[in-house]
Every structure is written in C-alpha cells, then in structure tokens.
C-alpha cells in the first residue's frame, strides 16, 4: 500500500483521492495554501492549476526530494482556450522536472476529466489514465495506486511524451468547453 499526498482540494484532487482510497491506499489531502503541514506521502500529486504550481514548488520543493511527484496539469491559456502557455517544444511536466531535480516526476491524470475518475468509466469504457515519465519504478508505484482503484493505466513512454499528453488534454478540454463533448466524456482508450 502507498501513502499518497494530494496538494489541492479541487475536483481533480478529490477525484484522485477517491481513486487512491478505493485502492486501499492512505491519502493526505492538503489545501494548496496549507504550507505549515508536512508532506508525508511517498507519492505527491500536484493537483493545482498550472499557474499555481510555481508557488507550491517554491514553498515545498525541498520536501519533495526523493519522492514521486505527479503533475496533472494542462497548461492552457484559459482565457482563449486557443494555446498552451509552455513553449511548444516543452511541457509543464518538463518544466516541473527541471525545477525538482531530486524528485521523480511523472505526468498523469491530465487526459481524464474528474468525472471520469470518479465514475471509473468513460461511456461504457473503463477510464484509462495515461502516464509518462523517465523513472520506471516511479511509474510502477503510481500505476499500482491507479489500477488498484479500478482504473486502467497506459504507459505512454518517457517524460518527453508529456508534450503529447498535454496536447491531448488541451484538445479534450477545448472540445468540452465548446460543448462538442461533455465533461463526463472524452477520449476513451480501446486496447
């Protein structure tokens, strides 16, 4: 069993906490401004919007050394829904990994809406969480948390693939925001 800290109590943080809880893991759910409380999970999910990540890292970066840090962000321009806010040859995950050289950073959950994590399904399909990262052991630990919570995982590859996962997340959010799909739908993976 893992002990998972989730920083951020919004709909994604709550949904990820529920997945971990369903799998029998213990969860520490922290508000993003709750800087006085120590992060004690060996897996730490940054469940805050991308613009808030820098502040979390500034406050807690040292305490994340040695831990698996999970980036779930979609670094969109939420004014226009027309672009990402990271350089086109980079990703939010790459920037976070660069800021946390002593952590093992994994991308996950950015292509699954909170509703599909909570329900465990996208339409008739089991919800599949796409992950990417350079540390196989870190990905295996996170995969265990997710699959024990009843969801599927596909390992999309190295951390550099976070760029494509963020493109997929961007596309999916844009489709939901323009009502072409619902916030309980999206792209389901068929093996």
């Amino acid at each position: 069993m893992a002990h998972v800290t989730i920083i951020g109590t919004g709909n994604m943080g709550q949904a990820i906490a529920a997945v971990a809880g369903r799998g029998g893991h213990t969860v520490q759910l922290l508000g993003r401004t709750d800087a006085a409380t120590q992060v004690d999970g060996e897996i730490v999910v940054l469940a805050v919007p991308y613009p808030a990540v820098a502040e979390v890292l500034a406050e807690r970066g040292d305490s994340l050394a040695g831990k698996v840090v999970v980036d779930i962000t979609n670094p969109l321009n939420f004014e226009t829904f027309d672009s990402l806010t990271v350089p086109s040859d980079s990703s939010a995950t790459a920037e976070i990994a660069a800021a946390l050289p002593r952590s093992r950073v994994v991308k996950a959950f950015n292509t699954t809406f909170a509703g599909t994590l909570a329900a465990g399904t996208v339409g008739a399909l089991t919800t599949t969480v796409l992950i990417a990262g350079d540390d196989a052991e870190a990905k295996a630990s996170l995969t265990d948390v997710i699959t024990s919570g009843g969801l599927n995982v596909i390992d999309a590859g190295a951390l550099v693939r976070a760029r494509e996962l963020e493109a997929l997340g961007f596309l999916q959010i844009g489709l939901a925001a323009s009502e072409k799909i619902s916030w309980t739908g999206g792209f389901g993976a068929v093996a």
Copy 2:
C-alpha cells in the same frame, strides 16, 4: 453527393474510399505516381505518407486550386517513433496549406487507424473522425462524406488545431507500435 478523389492506394486510401462509397459518394482512387490522370473530385484526399506529399503537390498543386484538400498525415520519424518531423509550433497541415494557398485544406483521418475506418467502430464505439480547418464550408462537405458513410465527426476547430491532432496521432501510433494498444483500437470519442 460528392465526388471524392483519393491519391494513394494504401490501407488508409482504401479505407477512406470505402467510407465514401458507403455514403453513396463517387470515388476516384489514384496511385500516387499516376500523375497523368486528372484529379476530378471536388474533395481530394492526400492519402500518402507525409514524406511523399511534397512530390504530389509538385506534380498536382495547380490542379488542386479551388478544391477541398484533405491532409491525413502523421509526420512521424518512423525510424525512432520518438518525434514529429515538422517544427514543434507548426503541423504538416499548416505546411501543406502554405504550399496550397488556393486550396481549402482540412486535417482529418490522422487519428483513426485504417482498421477502425473499415470496421466503423473502435471497440463498442462508433469511429469518430476528428477534423480541423479554417474553411467551414470545406469542413461541412467533408463531414457529410464521413457521416453518410456511418462514422461520427467532431470538428476540433481551426487549422491551428491540426498540431494537437498530429500529437494525438503520434501518441496513438506510438502506443500501437509498442503493442500497448492494437491497430484496431485507439482513442474512441465519448460525447
């Protein structure tokens, strides 16, 4: 009814021809080297690998003026499966549109494997073709061909969204090439 020319007789060209045929549209299926035959469809699908597009445009670019030109390519490095071969802030579609200023270029079919076009389904889901382009009328014409052939269409937005569609195509091909999904699976859209 539309008259659709498909340049390229590989598995994607054949599958797209079958979709158009199912919808009652007429199809001219041309080999990519069949430069002597005139392109007579008002919708022209470039069903050739991205590295072959430049030669097709050099031979036929003038005859594509005024037509709806459909780019289906995934501009991958097929040696490494680790990167796209177009600049990270551009797309194959943007490059083709720049080369064909008198045509109306639409991205489509790059996120649907040939097997899912032929079957009409991805798992239990009806196959959804994602399209992007700047000309609403061109997208409507292509949408009619696809939906009359029994598939769903989601309009992902302007031509600039081709970049995200290519990221999705890249991701999906990489997952199939590494046997994490099958070539009859992939990302199905749940509304």
